[in-house]
Symmetry: C2
DNA sequence: GTCTATAGGCAGATAGAC
DNA sequence: GTCTATCTGCCTATAGAC
């Protein structure tokens, strides 16, 4: 296993453990064990715990950006939004079992504060921007587009929290059904691009 | 300060610290200091940390039950729901600053697991039941009543998470405006009691 | 670059004087 | 009932052999 690969597997192990067990509740020793790297070696790749955490948030940010880049290739804003909903749907079981990685990190970060809080928020910030862009492209006013974006993200986070709390996917399914109906009902007119 | 009063002030201090800093990030020493009780004395009132946590969740459950008991005295289900919305509105600043105590506890509990997860969920469970009861009293089917209850709680939790993450109350205000409009638009017909 | 051993600090919990 | 002193264990981080 090459040096860079080890670094990558540490980040992936941390990412997974943060998602499953929370960021505060995960120790460097847990991460090292999951990645099968001796404890002390972790500090060769990351000077501090904070640096590892930062690398995980960077990794997550990059992966949501990549997903959005795929959606951006679609023809209409409605198609792009439907792709967003579809990808939500694909992760129902994961979200029911462990919650939303971004939402969980935001909540933990809001409690502890510090630089991590800013990094965690950036996933949400970019999501809101992207969603808003789609609604503006459908001809909505800036104000309405922002409101819709907030409603979608907020509904998503809330439904995931309920599903995770009760270990019951129906809360997410309800939200997705509402979303699909809503997008289907929206007037298609005034679309640009 | 009498013995029972000391116990009470420990619970209140823990309640507040759990809300502000999270339950995992709060040590017994923090709680003892906030309540101005020497560290060792805490263990006279609570055998373990878990027992203290349990007492805090009991205390919170009792306080939301008391609030609902007041709303139940109101004449119509619509009035009761509006009282629920009003109490949400009254706490906008608190929720923006520190998030929802129940939501935060649920999320942390979902990560660590154990008995705390069940206790945390009971606040949500009772909220869903109460909300559902109001919608049934307005004449909605059981299915619709449950769906509406889930949507309200989920929208609430999601909007609070966004407001807390961005330290911006507008996300909660948007949700409340939507809620008020929705309740205003709902047909009043078929109400019983 | 890799790994073992361990330092140093803080957490939960207990012993025992008062 | 109250409080100080302290035990034990886990965590982050480092020293230093290989």
């Amino acid at each position: 296993m090459a040096g860079t690969e080890k670094r990558g597997s540490l980040i992936r192990a941390a990412d997974s453990l943060f998602h499953r067990n929370g960021f505060e509740h995960t120790s460097i020793a847990d991460i090292a064990a999951a990645a099968r790297v001796p404890l002390g070696n972790v500090y060769y790749y990351f000077k501090t715990r904070g640096e590892l955490v930062r690398s995980v948030t960077d990794h997550r940010l990059a992966s949501v950006r990549a997903r959005r880049a795929e959606w951006d290739a679609l023809a209409s804003p409605r198609d792009r939004l439907l792709a967003y909903v579809k990808s939500f749907e694909n992760r129902i079981d994961e979200f029911t079992a462990h919650g939303c990685p971004a939402g969980g990190l935001c909540l933990e970060a809001n409690k502890v504060g510090g630089p991590i809080a800013r990094d965690a928020a950036s996933v949400f910030r970019e999501s809101l921007q992207w969603l808003g862009t789609q609604f503006r492209a459908m001809g909505l006013s800036d104000r309405q587009a922002r409101a819709n974006a907030a409603q979608i993200l907020s509904g998503r986070q809330g439904s995931v929290l309920l599903a995770n709390t009760f270990k019951d996917p129906k809360f997410i399914r309800l939200e997705i059904a509402r979303l699909k109906k809503w997008l289907g009902d929206m007037p298609a007119g005034n679309e640009r691009k």
